[in-house]
Amino acid sequence: METTENVLHQHSENHGGSWEGAAAPFNISYGKLMMWYFLLSDAFTFAGFLIAYGALRFSSPSWPVPDFVFSTAPFGIHDAPLIFVTIMSFLLIISSVTMVRAVQEGHRENKRGVVFWMFLTIIGGAGFLGCQAWEWSNLIGKENMSVTTNPFGSHVGAGTYLDEKGNPTGETFKAGASYLLHKSEEGGHDESHAEGHHAMAKGDHPNAFVDNDGFIHKKFKVTSGPAAGKVQMEEFGPKAFGALFFFITGFHGFHVLSGVAFLLIIMINVASGVYASRKNGYEMVEKIGLYWHFVDLVWVFVFLVFYLF
């Protein structure tokens, strides 16, 4: 057994350079090994989030259908399920590939090559963040989703919507059909009218109930199941959906953001020749590369759990 003094002694010996004095475990540098173990622990954090999402989703009687929730894209594109997030996935894949190229150029001690490919990687990461900013602002600003409010719901049974006098209309839906609770527009903006929003007073109407926050809960007559014949109204979707969405995509987005920041710092260091003088094959570029690929790797599973399933 080592005494405390021995440990302290070894500690001070290792202080100057890492991993010196003995053979490197696993034939890898200290920094890269620690990056691997950091990523391992980070993988557990993300896995905890995603498993919680799955467990809550399957314990809830209804859940917003992802291809309904995520069917809008910029430039007024509607009803295009998964198209926008597919573009986001491609941005991350491409930036991961350019990162591999940057590491390869680093092995050749080619400074210009490293800077060029890292710059493209940063563009890809920033593009992803821009897309995510648009997605969030669309969900928060236009569709009124928040951490505690989820206006995306789905019907438990089949039914028919009611008209202004409370009579059934021809507008029917099946069990599992998705809906979005719109907000009553008090100002009466022209844009919102074009999308079919109405200005409705708060309170009870024959065809809808408008709550204190202005959400319009449309009323319908149930046509199947034990509640058949009863008039019900559209309820909010499970609260957990909003919280899980913002926390998980936010946590991933924060990883991308910090990745872009570190890429920028390291790219500037590369350009100013900090790593060229170390002559270690641009190991710092390899380390940020590992981190950046991990961000792409996590997105594979966020994409799977949130959007594809």
Partner: protein, 113 residues
């Protein structure tokens, strides 16, 4: 990547790009198929969600394998390193079973969300 020449590894990167892009497109297509966007009405078949979910999960795990082994160079590291990183993640299989068998006992009880 000492055993690959520079030209070879450049080609491998382009191959990786097309592979990941292609697998992602297939995943999106299968997911949309399962939701009834390709052939309307197919989502009414109750069991269709299971094979669709299984296939896209397997494809995602393949993507993860490719990213770790090629892009992150795990294939070129010492085997011990790969084991210390990958073996702990197998605990997640247990976590999956634990949480998803618990869901049955959560059903029909007090809703938390």
């Amino acid at each position: 990547m000492s055993h690959k020449t520079y030209e070879e590894s450049k080609k491998a990167v382009v191959k990786g790009l097309f592979l990941l892009g292609f697998v992602t497109l297939i995943e999106v297509f299968i997911s949309l198929f399962g939701k009834g966007h390709i052939i309307p009405g197919i989502n009414d078949i109750a069991w269709i969600a299971y094979p669709v979910g299984f296939i896209i999960a397997v494809l995602s795990i393949y993507k993860a394998y490719f990213i770790i082994y090629e892009f992150m160079h795990m294939a070129y590291e010492v085997k011990g390193l790969a084991l210390t990183v990958l073996l702990p993640t197998s605990l997640l299989i247990w976590a999956l079973f634990a949480f998803f068998s618990r869901r049955n006992s959560m059903e029909g009880k007090k809703r938390v969300c």
